[in-house]
Amino acid sequence: MSITYLEAIRAAQERALEEDPRVFIYGQDVGSFGGAFKATKNLAQRFPGRVIDAPISEDAMVGMAIGAAIEGMRPIIEMQFADFSMPGFNQVVNNAATLFWRTQVPCPITIRLPSGGTSGSGPFHSQCLETLYAHFPGLIVMTPATVEDAYSMLLEAVALDDPVVFCEHKLLYYHLKAECLPSEAMPVGKARIARPGRDMTIVAHSAMVHEALAAAGELASDDGTEIEVVDLRSVKPLDTDTVMASVARTGRLLCVGESWPWGGVTAEVIARVACEGFALLDAPPQRLNAKDTPVPYHPNLWKVHRPTAGSIAEAARKLLRS
């Protein structure tokens, strides 16, 4: 018996609905249809009136969630794709994210963003938007890279009193599998050492963790280089301590992200390490992001647009020589 990343997301929502009467799910096609990716399959049947189809109105979907949260509910909003959260962006960053600061009334909403590129999805069904949301105060931004984290972090997202942007990666939906759901979990905000090593640190999150692990495996079998891979798990909070401790061990830092190069998570990690741990570095820190164009459609273009195990291994070799 094995469970996929997507099934874990469904299972977490099922458990949240089961255990907490304040939870409901609102999103396009999430009801009897079960969602565009089937992340809410059979939940409407099992929890009548609590898994509700929304019109194609992302602004009003988030607004509705904020109002429900003020009334003490814990809504989960499913955006059909992360890209489509943009019409609701104002409600997330200006309304939900400011409510607690302004009024001391918490806004416990979870906004699920099926994120990231898959081959053939093109410019408007492929975006990674964690950078945008992480920029705004008052939000928590989660980027689970494993089946276990997809499950436990979604449960924690629903339990937290703050608005959480939950960036689940579509490329991991079906391929990533675990033997079973976790019974315990690391707390949110804590990064994980996905692979220990002593020669270099690669910091990644979401699907890039797996590309980084593949690159680390390639280098290890090539010449025995031992790369440490840090999975951030959440980009806000960002676990600077774990990153810094890793850099202290390795002296070299490569940050990998699937979003665009201007600013972003990779820039933030490097800024923090450079400011607080410059002396730990034996070489200038490096970053690898997607190319600065919209995400392309054709697989030939798509596979070189984003960092891959190959391009990460190449960047790592270069950094090891410097």
Binding site: F24, G49, R50, A54, P55, S57, D59, A60, M61, V62, G63, M64, A65, I66, G67, A68, A69, I70, E71, G72, M73, P75, P87, N90, Q91, N94, N95, A97, T98, L99, F100, W101, R102, T103, V105, P106, C107, P108, P137, G138, I140, L160, D161, D162, V188, G189, K236, P237, L238, D239, T240
Partner: protein
């Protein structure tokens, strides 16, 4: 409410109407005087940021505030001082928000018209027009999920907000869910300096409602009696389950967008037209005509409002300003995270 007498239903109804009219009028005076006080303080440099007043919109505003009751939800906009007071906001809350007092509901973190007490159904607006309508929808949706009945939620907007995507999405959403939403549209002829001819091309804003499958009514926003009746009926319809209601009031903004704005662009023809009447004068004329008030009574009401405002303002002006060193610079409610990650 009036004392019930044995003199028959018609008398009771008449007395109720009179009591309601007088109550509403006195709240209009209080709103106007409070607004004028804020404007004076602004000109004296005592208030940081802008001051936005509801001059000319008090009749409409008070009518929605007065029609709501405990358990209802209210999301006012910038020109709703009268409605806020009618809904139960204290003068102290208003003044403390303008002065940024830490004893106010927003504690200096937000100011002027951006105030509320969400737990009490009084929602604090953000500046993005139309955004609060779907938030009201959410409160109503949740109340229904919790099994509550008999509640309504009101959101106030102006003609400008009817051009936003948020307005469209929220009205459509309210109609789909058949929520007890009452949307009050104050068509005050200008969104800042933009006249209605550059805002919409439909004959009247009420024409938009049938497109969403909801009911709309129109009212002369300068006439308190009409506003009380039309808004009151819309609230009743929503309360008994007839779905979302839209009320479009025609009136003229008798001030600038904010106190920084001299409103030189307002068409003199509009000022001279019936919609340019001051709703307070109209209501005062009605009170005199019905002999419900005379000079002495009107002056006593005014003086009482002035005293209330002066007392509250004097108190708030003595309160300490927020101290940046004592401020908790954290936007998250999840305390355990903020302790571990101070930079969040």
């Amino acid at each position: 409410m009036v004392q019930r007498t044995s003199s028959g239903g018609a008398t009771v109804e008449l007395s109720t109407a009179r009591e309601e009219y007088i109550q509403a009028f006195r709240l209009m005076i209080l709103g106007r005087i409070l607004d004028e006080k804020f404007a004076t303080l602004y000109r004296a440099g005592k208030i940081h940021g802008g001051v936005f007043i509801g001059r000319g919109q008090e009749a409409l505003s008070v009518s929605i505030g007065i029609a709501l009751r405990e358990g209802d939800v209210f999301a006012p906009l910038i020109r709703d001082q009268a409605g806020r007071l009618a809904f139960g906001e204290t003068i102290l809350d208003a003044a403390r928000t303008y002065f940024g007092s830490v004893q106010g509901p927003m504690r200096g973190r937000d100011g002027n018209v951006h105030r509320g007490r969400p737990r009490e159904g009084y929602l604090p607006m953000i500046s993005h027009l139309g955004a609060m309508i779907s938030v009201v929808n959410g409160t109503l949706f949740a109340k229904r999920m919790k099994g509550l009945t008999g509640f309504v939620g009101a959101a106030c907007i102006g003609d400008g907000a009817t051009s936003t995507g948020s307005f469209h999405e929220a009205l459509n959403q309210a109609a789909i869910e058949k929520l007890p939403l009452v949307l009050i549209v104050a068509n005050n002829q200008y969104a800042y300096s933009t006249p209605t001819s550059r805002q919409f091309a439909c004959h009247t804003l009420a024409d938009k409602a049938p497109g969403y499958g909801i009911e709309a009514s129109q009212v002369d926003g300068t006439d308190l009696g009409s506003c009380l009746r039309v808004v009151g009926e819309a609230v009743k319809r929503a309360r008994k389950g007839s779905g979302p209601q839209m009320v479009v009031a025609t009136l003229l903004r008798l001030c600038g967008h904010g106190e920084h704005d001299d409103a030189h662009y307002v068409d003199p023809k509009l000022k001279a037209s019936p919609m340019g009447r001051d709703c307070l004068n109209v209501a005062e004329g009605y009170l005199r005509e019905k002999r419900w008030a005379d000079d002495v009574i009107l002056e006593s009401w005014r003086q009482e409002a002035v005293d209330q405002v002066e007392t509250a303002i004097a108190k708030v002006q003595r309160e300490p300003a927020p101290d940046p060193l004592k401020e908790n610079w954290c936007a998250l409610a999840a305390r355990h995270l903020t302790e571990v990650f101070p930079e969040v």
